[in-house]
């Protein structure tokens, strides 16, 4: 006998999904901003800073790239109270995800900075710019442009990865799904809804990245996110 899908009980709790989705947006939005800030500082420290700073950032990067995000989250959430820092589940999640993204984006951004020809840097220095001014005005935009697809891909992983915060009962989308599932017992329907919401959010984020790219790289705009481009094609074909 074929399984009869029934979304009604899940839909009855839709406000919980909406709230979960909003929390996911807030949580990953904050983690992305903080993680990118860490990444910029980390990458510039590694390329421009003294050797000890490069080494120190390198240790951080290796630690966070060679352990699971979930374990990092547990260590922060359960470990920090031992040193007197009490965190809400959401705050612990933001910190863990930001530190994780910071490590990955440090390396992505560093690759971009190192891909800029030395002659560009020398042209900036010869004009009297300081090294940091060269980074800021000469190097960073072309560097970002080179690694933009890798970076935005990492940001999408971050958005989706925020679901692990459900493991410490943060109040994000996956956790909301788990709660609904445990009261309705409609596992398939619940997580189908959750999946659709994640897709909608990643599309929305990728559209935002694309717009930001259009603005940053006025010279050569990045390609439209493929699914958005596809959707536009489909809607044109339908019209």
């Amino acid at each position: 006998m074929a399984y009869q899908m029934n979304f009604t009980p899940v839909m009855a709790l839709a406000p919980q999904l909406v709230e979960g989705a909003l929390n996911t947006l807030i949580l990953s939005g904050q983690a992305i901003v903080a993680g990118l800030a860490i990444g910029v500082v980390g990458a510039v420290s590694r390329t421009e800073g003294p050797r000890w700073l490069d080494r120190a950032v390198g240790v951080y990067v290796e630690l966070f790239r060679n352990t699971p995000l979930l374990v990092q989250l547990f260590l922060i959430f359960f470990g920090l109270p031992y040193v007197g820092v009490r965190l809400s589940a959401n705050m612990a999640a933001i910190i863990a995800i930001a530190l994780n993204l910071g490590a990955y984006s440090t390396e992505i951004l560093r690759a971009g900075l190192q891909a800029i020809p030395r002659t560009q840097i020398e042209a900036g220095l010869a004009l009297g710019l300081s090294r940091l001014q060269v980074v800021r005005y000469v190097v960073i935009i072309p560097a970002l442009q080179i690694i933009y697809p890798a970076l935005t891909g990492q940001l999408t992983l971050t958005l989706l990865g925020s679901s692990i915060a459900s493991a410490i009962s943060a109040t994000e989308l996956t956790a909301a799904g788990a709660r609904i599932e445990s009261t309705t017992f409609r596992s398939l329907e619940t997580f189908l809804c959750v999946a659709v919401i994640y897709i909608a959010m990643t599309f929305a984020f990728r559209f935002v990245y694309w717009r930001i790219g259009m603005w940053l790289f006025r010279r050569k705009a990045p390609p439209k996110p493929s699914l958005i481009a596809d959707a536009i094609e489909v809607s044109r074909a339908g019209a």
């Binding site: 004009l127 009297g128 072309p142």
Partner: protein, 243 residues
Amino acid sequence: MPALHISEIKKYFGALLVLDGVSLDIEPSEVVAVIGRSGSGKSTMLRCINGLEKIQAGLIEVAGHRIGPQGGDLRSLRKEVGMVFQSYNLFPHLTVMENVTLAPKVVKGVDRKEAEAIAHDVLRRVGLAEKSGAYADELSGGQQQRVAIARSLAMQPKVMLFDEVTSALDPELTGEVLKTMEELADAGMTMVLVTHEMGFARQVADRTVFMHKGKVWEQGPSEELFANPQTPELRNFIAPSLK
């Protein structure tokens, strides 16, 4: 007082001695051509003058700013010394106008309006006022190199250094860049230009310096130097260009 004073500089790359006690005084408004074989240290000398390379001995002085083996106030010195490279090195993400106004704004703190006025002025001097909204990849090599010259001029340097600025250009484009440089020379700019254009050196430079094995091997007023080379090395070097 010379505009540029170079005294007994030595430069090593590892164990390789590339500049072996080079001394040179360049007077205000003087135009000096530097010629010599590949590897004789011409580019290295220019790069030392504005501190892109460290020197191991000697002294470089421009407008009261000194650099020596211990370094020095590089940024103050670079404000006085413009440098144009063989490979133009325009910033690809910035328009011509933004390329030219960047350093005045960021380094000197000039406000936008004034920086743009300066930019218009220098772009007009290199004949590219109408290209201010273009990006580097919309310009020919010769135009890019003229913008690079304008970009340096916008800092109102006391000395301009040119390192084979026409070598990467198609022959039909070298003329416009050489003309720009000649106009600069006529306007009284102090210039040091490394060049393989012997005719240009002879015609435009007040003095020509022949570098060989990391030393100033021979120098003199251009006309005299080319007409009457004293050393066999220089005679050999310029022989092909006299044919």
